[in-house]
Structures are given as structure tokens and as C-alpha cells.
Amino acid sequence: MTNTPQKNPLFEITGLTHAFGGLTAVSDFNLSLGAGRIMGLIGPNGAGKTTVFNLITGVYKPDGGTVTLKGKNLTALPSHTIVAEGVSRTFQNIRLFKSMSVLDNCLTAAYYRLGYRLPEALLGAAGFRRRESSIRASALDVLETLGLANRAGSLAVSLPYGMQRKVELARALMSKPAVLLLDEPGAGMNPAELGDLVTMIAGVRDAFGVAIMLIEHRMKLVMDLCERVTVLNFGTTIFEGLAADLSKSAAVVQAYFGEDHDATVG
């Protein structure tokens, strides 16, 4: 198995392990991701992919292992601090703030960099108003980049499904991440929308300079975007390497298609 970690990677995970009671959901998960790279995390249902995201973002506390970003250990920090440090994510089931406009959804993600204190906000001080308008301008910029500027005032949950996914992406970008975790961005999209999504994710990587880790079942999206891929099955890593080598791995073929099949992934 080819495994060539980059020197001084931006984002590194070593030995990440987590069990729910007796069930080991993730065991000894390793990853090294350089700035501006896109990697795919794939595997059958229940393989532990989303659990990996939940461990990285502090939703669950890992039983073992470390997550480091730019040399800083993020393991066991509270979720909101992890986001502030530069790891943000989207959700498999869209989780937008249902009473808020598209713009307010994005603005909420600037919580850690409001740049004013509560008393200033209470009094409506000049510094508060200046910061609010600059945060608002940066949110409108992000929305513009994703082609959502004309929907800024719409109630986020009233938008069509595909657009809601974009709003989640915009919200995740608002916290200025160095690493972006996308949980099944292509779920529920038709082939045409999927093509647009590939262009958009690549565009986001270029425009915002983020490294992207994505969970996906749609192999077209993975093959088009990801240089390297990690495959999980029952919580263990069964493949780590170049996406192009994926179909050559007997373990992967077996995990997806069972034994005694002459088939390839793709």
C-alpha cells in the first residue's frame, strides 16, 4: 500500500480511535492532508465515516489518538474552539438555522471573530456597528462566490435542496477554515447537479485555499476531485492511497462487492 505522508502536513490525524460501548466505531484512523488538497473518505454504510468527522470536530471525545492542525493539538478541545482554530464542516442531513435568512445563517458562523464585546453590542457602540458591517460584507462576499448573493434575504430552509447545501457550505466557509469537512455534499443530487458540484468544490478550494476532506458515496465525485482516498470498513482503514489505485485493491473490492466477484469500483 502506498503511503507517502507529506512533510509538515497542514492537518494530521494519528491513531484516532473511538468505541460506542463494545462497538469499535473507528479504530486507528490516520490521515495527513496538505494545504489546498482534497481527499476522499469512503466506505460502506456504517463504516464510521461520519464518526470520524464527529471525532475531529469534538462532537464525540476520542478514546485515543490526536488531531493536529498547523502543529496545534485540537484533540479534546470544545467544538466551538475547534471551529475557531480552523476546522469547519457541513452535515449529512442539512442542519441550517431554520428561523434565519441565508445571510444570518452565514453571519452566525462569525461568532468567534465578532471583534466586539457584549457591552459594546448592548449600547450599539460605533465599534460594534463597524465590525458588524465588515462581517456582513465578508458574508456577502462568500455568498457572491457561491452564487447565492441574490438569495441572501431568503429564509434558508425555504430554498431548494441543492441550494440549501450551498448555504451550508457558505456558512462553513464563513468561519474561515483551513480544513473543510464535507459530509456527503452530493447526496440527493442528480448527475447534472453533481457535475456542477465538482466544479464548485474545486472552485471553493481555489478561492478560499482550504484543504478539503469529503465523505461521499458517489464515486464520480470522488474520482473527479480527490487525489487520495481512504476507505473505511467497520471502523478500520482498509485502503489509503491514490484514488487511481482504488480499484486495484482487493480489500476494497471485497468490502463493496463481497467475495468471488470480478468487479471494479468506479
Binding site: 469534538g58 462532537v59 469547519s88 434565519m100 452566525t108 461568532y111 465578532l114 453590542a121 431568503s154 429564509l155
Partner: protein
């Protein structure tokens, strides 16, 4: 006139009117009393709105915060500066606010973990604790109540405090902290994962709500001049809940409207005697059936485009 002077201008006009009413006794004392009740109820309901409307919790403990504020402010007026007259009244009110704010902070801590029904039970316990505390502490007259409180509350103080409460609540809600509060209501997990410090926003909501409830309690104590622990029972909390949901929670205007309508309704229906406590709640039930979001509450489905 630039728009930013309109608000303060209106406030000063209102203050001038209430000051002259107080000084020259322009208004019939009965009407003045009702107006002051409305003002105090606006303070109570607007502050409750921060927790029950924007944060989306269900606190039934607002009467307890009011009690702490009422007793603390009365204690300051009677024992700390007894011969200073109404001059130091604002300090008594602030003392009531701060005392209550501290209790608000203590309630925010269980709210880190508990939500919904559980938080309602915790705040219910708070009411019982404060009631028995004031019944048993020796300095406040015990169950007989705390009497001899000077009548410092007048229209001007109530007006100023009510405006301040509404403005502060509005400013919080429109700030990044307010977006954090609303995000916790909409989806707490998603809120933490977009960098909202959920503990911080809960503390902010509870402490500010409790502070203004304490100020409202101080005004109340110096208006009716006699308080006892039974005044601040769960029924008192229910009044504020009622006004909040009547007017429309999570709106700025709703609590004001709800407080005004409910207070006036109970007075107008006074001729019905004890039956007003039947008629008014029935009116409320009818309203909730046909307009569950409250009078000012907006219907999400009908509101496609929000203000940018």
C-alpha cells in the same frame, strides 16, 4: 433629522411627558397606576422573551428573579440608604438587578445540560426555593411580608426602565451574540459547530433576562410598597408567560403589546368580578387556537423574503 436621532428624541419626549405627569399630577392616579403596571409588565415580558423566545428555553422562574430584585431593591432603600429619599432609587433598582442577575447566572449553569421540560422543572424549583428563602430569612419580615417600602416608583422611572429594557434586548438580539442565542434555539449542535460558544450565549441570555426582571421587581416593590413571598408564586410567572405568548415570542414588539393588552384587559373586565379570570383566559385560548404564533409573531411560511 438623521434617523439615528429619532429614537433618542422620542425617548426624551416620552420622558418629558412622564416627568410632567409625575410632577403636576396630570393623570388620574388610577390610570397612572395601570400605566405603571403595564410598564413593569413590559420589562418583565421583554426580558423573559430573551430566554423563552430567542433562546427557546421554557423558563417558568421569572417571578423568582422578580422577587430577588424586589427584595434586594427594597432592602437597599430601607436599610442601606434609608434617609436619602428617592434620589438613590436608581441605585436600589440596580442593586435589585444585580442580585437577580447573579441568580440568573446560577440558573444558566444547569441550563448548559438541561433543556425543555427539565429546565422548566429546574426553574420551578427556583421559584419554590426563593419563596421559602424569603419566608425564612429574618430580615425581610418572613411570611408576613416586607412592608414600609417607600413609594419611589413613578411614571418616569417605569418609562425609562421599560425603554432601556426593550432597547437592550433589541441590541442583544441584533448582535452576533443574539445570532448565537437564536442559533442555539434552532439547532444547538449545529451552533457549536459554527463556533458559537453555547455556554456563553446561555449565560448572556439568562443573566440579562434576570437583571431586568430584578429591575422590574424593584419598581414593583416601590410601587405597591408591600411585598410578601406569596406575591411571587408560579402564578406571577404564568402572567408573564401569558403576555409573552399572547403578544408573540421572539419579536421585539410582541412582549410590549402582550403586556399592554393583558394588563388593560384584566382592568376593563373588572366589572365581571371574579369572572374576568374566566373570560380573559378563554379569550387567550381562542387566540392561541387561531393565531398560535401570537399577535406580533410572524408566520414563517408566509414570509419568503426576510430583510437583508
Amino acid at each position: 433629522m438623521p434617523s439615528k436621532f429619532i429614537g433618542p428624541g422620542l425617548f426624551l419626549c416620552g420622558l418629558a411627558v412622564t416627568l410632567s405627569c409625575d410632577a403636576l399630577h396630570l393623570i388620574n392616579p388610577y390610570i397612572a397606576q395601570i400605566l405603571m403596571y403595564i410598564g413593569i409588565n413590559v420589562i418583565m415580558t421583554s426580558s423573559l422573551n430573551l430566554v423563552n423566545g430567542y433562546l427557546g428555553e421554557f423558563s417558568v422562574g421569572h417571578a423568582a428573579f422578580m422577587a430577588v430584585g424586589a427584595y434586594a431593591a427594597a432592602f437597599f432603600s430601607l436599610s442601606i440608604f434609608p434617609h436619602c429619599g428617592p434620589l438613590l432609587f436608581p441605585l436600589s433598582l440596580l442593586a435589585g438587578g444585580f442580585a437577580s442577575g447573579i441568580i440568573g447566572f446560577l440558573v444558566a449553569i444547569p441550563a448548559f445540560k438541561a433543556r425543555d421540560d427539565y429546565l422548566a422543572i429546574i426553574t420551578l424549583a427556583l421559584i419554590m426555593i426563593t419563596k421559602s428563602m424569603f419566608e425564612n430569612l429574618p430580615w425581610f419580615g418572613g411570611p408576613q411580608g416586607y412592608s414600609g417600602i417607600p413609594k419611589y416608583t413613578n411614571l418616569s422611572w417605569v418609562f425609562a426602565a421599560a425603554v432601556m429594557t426593550v432597547v437592550v434586548v433589541r441590541n442583544v438580539v441584533r448582535s452576533g451574540f443574539g445570532r448565537g442565542i437564536i442559533a442555539v434555539r434552532d439547532d444547538e449542535v449545529a451552533a457549536t459547530l459554527v463556533s458559537v460558544d453555547t455556554r456563553q450565549v446561555k449565560i448572556i441570555a439568562f443573566v440579562i433576562a434576570a437583571f431586568f426582571a430584578g429591575v422590574g421587581g424593584g419598581l414593583f416593590a416601590h410601587l405597591i410598597q408591600f411585598i410578601n413571598p406569596r406575591t411571587f408564586s408560579i402564578l406571577k410567572s404564568t402572567d408573564f408567560l401569558l403576555m409573552l405568548y399572547l403578544g408573540g415570542s421572539a419579536t421585539i414588539g410582541g412582549p410590549i403589546l402582550g403586556a399592554a393588552i393583558w394588563t388593560i384587559l384584566l382592568e376593563v373586565l373588572r366589572f365581571l368580578g371574579v369572572w374576568r379570570f374566566v373570560v380573559a383566559p378563554v379569550a387567550l385560548i381562542v387566540l392561541m387556537v387561531y393565531r398560535p404564533q401570537g399577535i406580533m409573531g410572524w408566520n414563517r411560511k408566509k414570509r419568503e423574503n426576510l430583510k437583508v
